[in-house]
């Protein structure tokens, strides 16, 4: 009876402390409730499968892609084009530098007959087996030459060489056909002061 009495800390009252009623305390009934929920979903979906409809929310991926990707989805890359259909990219390598997965490879060439745009890539390749779709390349690009569209690249395959996005994949898009992301008008006056 004698001895030190240890002061007990009052138990903290949480605002969302779960309170079990008698119904929940008899665990069996709650099990039946849970089973009826999962079983209900199971039989509903099975009925859909049996009657030839699709009983799942997921897609059978490479064969079937979901139509409801957000327009903001960072999917496949595209290289924007100038009005005459030539590539906008100036092969500055900023995207390849910023890329955290080191998956962009650019080989540049020069065409001095075109003084406004002498440098352009002969080879612009993205290794989709390594790309993490972070969108840094889009952020880094000073020329708005690379963008991401919502559809996914045709990735799955048995050969890594097939997972390279080459220029033919990246160039099959023209900015004038995209109603949402219009080609930005060129700024009228260049802000010379902020040039380094």
């Amino acid at each position: 009876m004698t001895g030190r009495t240890v002061p007990t800390k009052p138990k903290k009252q949480y605002w969302n402390e779960p309170r079990l009623g008698l119904w929940e305390r008899v665990y069996l009934l709650e099990i039946v409730r849970g089973l009826s929920i999962t079983g209900g979903v199971f039989f509903r979906n099975m009925w859909k499968w049996i009657t030839g409809r699709k009983g799942a929310l997921t897609a059978y991926y490479p064969e079937e892609t979901r139509p409801d990707y957000s327009p903001n989805n960072r999917g496949r890359h595209v290289l924007t084009q100038r009005g005459d259909g030539k590539v906008q990219c100036v092969a500055c390598n900023l995207c390849a530098t910023v890329c955290p997965a080191y998956c962009i490879e650019i080989e540049a060439t020069a065409d001095f007959d075109e003084p406004a745009h002498p440098k352009s890539p002969t080879r612009f390749e993205i290794d989709y087996s390594r790309c993490i779709f972070c969108g840094f390349c889009v952020e880094a690009c000073p020329e708005d030459a690379i963008r991401m569209v919502k559809d996914t690249p045709d990735l799955p395959g048995f050969d890594r060489d097939d997972m390279w996005g080459r220029k033919d994949l990246l160039m099959n898009w023209h900015p004038l056909t995209d109603p949402r992301k219009r080609y930005p008008p060129a700024p009228a006056v260049r802000d010379e002061e902020h040039r380094p």
Binding site: L28, I31, G34, L35, I37, T38, G39, V41, F42, N45, M46, W49, G55, A56, L57, T58, Y60
Partner: protein
């Protein structure tokens, strides 16, 4: 003598095919059922290609089990640097073999008289004579005791596996497994005693016959059914009770250090145990191989109508009824596995010792008093 060998050889071959086949199918059911429950599609990539053609049989991913088995067999058998060689090799077998053995006393069909399958007077009919055999590998008088005794051996496999791997996670898993399985064995045994008192026998075949004459065990002993089912799932160490191997705490529990087919044997024994538990539940509580109104000579409906069936048809119906019941109960177990979250360890022990055991004891007392009153 020769007849016995032949009949029991056929039984053993059938039971092995039944257990392993159904266990493999349950691995598929587990994947697909959980997928459909969660609005997913589920495993669907493995296929068999018909040789010399490009025809690929996918069959809703049914062949994933085969791919898994092949992978398990072909994988490197990696062993820890220091381990108890003998116990480490022995443990998977001690886990898997008792599970298979339990099925030896489970009747998967009624009395069969092979001579009646053939033309009367033919050589085959002469060979079998008028003898009849129960469709059961070993018709032991002490059937239920055999079940409890042999399934108790399975604990040794998990304990040895955890102890011989020389790994702390395995050790903890094995300690958990041992205490959990022993605790639930007590409740399971006590729940089964009330069943034994009701039926007045421990012979599983006679239990089924009792149920055919009176009523299914689930009607007579509903509480014992729930207790047995709970304890049996706990014995199987599957999800609401999978503390011995819970991935979030113990990597993979008692078989952390096992690879290739040795681990496959642990996984396979888990699925075989689903089949065995379902078979026991069906035999003890759901009328075993019997169908309502199905007698040895065909259906005898309560209105006085009869529908005579040949002996072969009746036998096939009984075997099919047993298989179908086992399949449904197995799917129910898988449904429980994908519905309930894992218990905490103290909750597990509380459930075993403070709820299941007193309930089983109370059920036994009530059963004893009632059957003393009635008899």
């Amino acid at each position: 003598m020769m007849q016995d060998l032949l009949v029991h050889g056929v039984y053993i071959a059938y039971v092995l095919a039944f257990l392993l086949g159904l266990a493999t199918i349950f691995t598929w059911v587990e994947r697909k059922q959980s997928a459909v429950m969660a609005d997913r599609i589920g495993a669907n990539r493995a296929y068999l290609r018909i040789p010399f053609t490009q025809v690929k049989l996918v069959w809703w991913g049914l062949f994933h089990g085969m791919a898994d088995g092949l992978k398990m067999i072909l994988k490197e058998n990696f062993t820890p640097a220091t381990y108890d060689r003998f116990c480490y090799q022995l443990a998977p077998w001690l886990a898997a073999v008792p599970v298979l053995l339990v099925f030896a006393v489970v009747p998967f069909g009624g009395e069969v008289q092979p001579a009646r399958f053939f033309e009367p007077g033919s050589a085959a009919a002469e060979f079998f004579g008028d003898r009849s055999w129960r469709m059961q590998i070993a018709s032991l008088d002490a059937g239920l005791l055999f079940v409890l005794a042999v399934s108790g051996v399975g604990i040794l496999g998990t304990m040895l596996a955890g102890w011989s791997s020389n790994n702390k996670f395995s050790m903890l898993g094995a300690a958990r497994a041992a205490s959990q399985m022993i605790s639930y064995e007590v409740a399971m045994g006590l729940a089964l005693i009330s069943v034994v008192v009701t039926y007045g026998t421990v012979d599983l075949f006679e239990m089924v016959q009792w149920q055919q004459q009176a009523a299914w065990g689930i009607v007579v002993q509903p509480l014992a059914f729930i207790l047995f089912m709970t304890a049996a799932i706990a014995e199987n160490k599957r999800i609401p009770f999978d503390l011995p191997e819970c991935e979030s705490e113990l990597v993979s529990g008692y078989f952390t250090e096992y690879t290739s087919m040795k681990m496959g044997l642990f996984l396979l024994s888990e699925f075989i145990e689903i089949v065995v538990i379902s078979a026991l539940v069906v035999t003890l509580f759901l009328g075993g191989y019997t169908l309502p109104f199905l007698g040895p000579e065909g259906f005898a409906l309560p209105g006085g109508g009869t529908w005579a069936l040949s002996h072969l048809t009746v036998t096939l119906l009984q075997v099919l009824a047993f298989t179908a019941k086992v399949f449904v109960v197995g799917c129910f177990q898988i449904g429980i596995r994908w519905t309930l979250p894992r218990f905490r360890y103290d909750q597990l022990m509380d459930l075993g010792w403070k709820i299941l055991l007193p309930l089983a004891a109370a059920n036994l007392v009530v059963t004893a008093v009632v059957s003393w009153w009635l008899l």
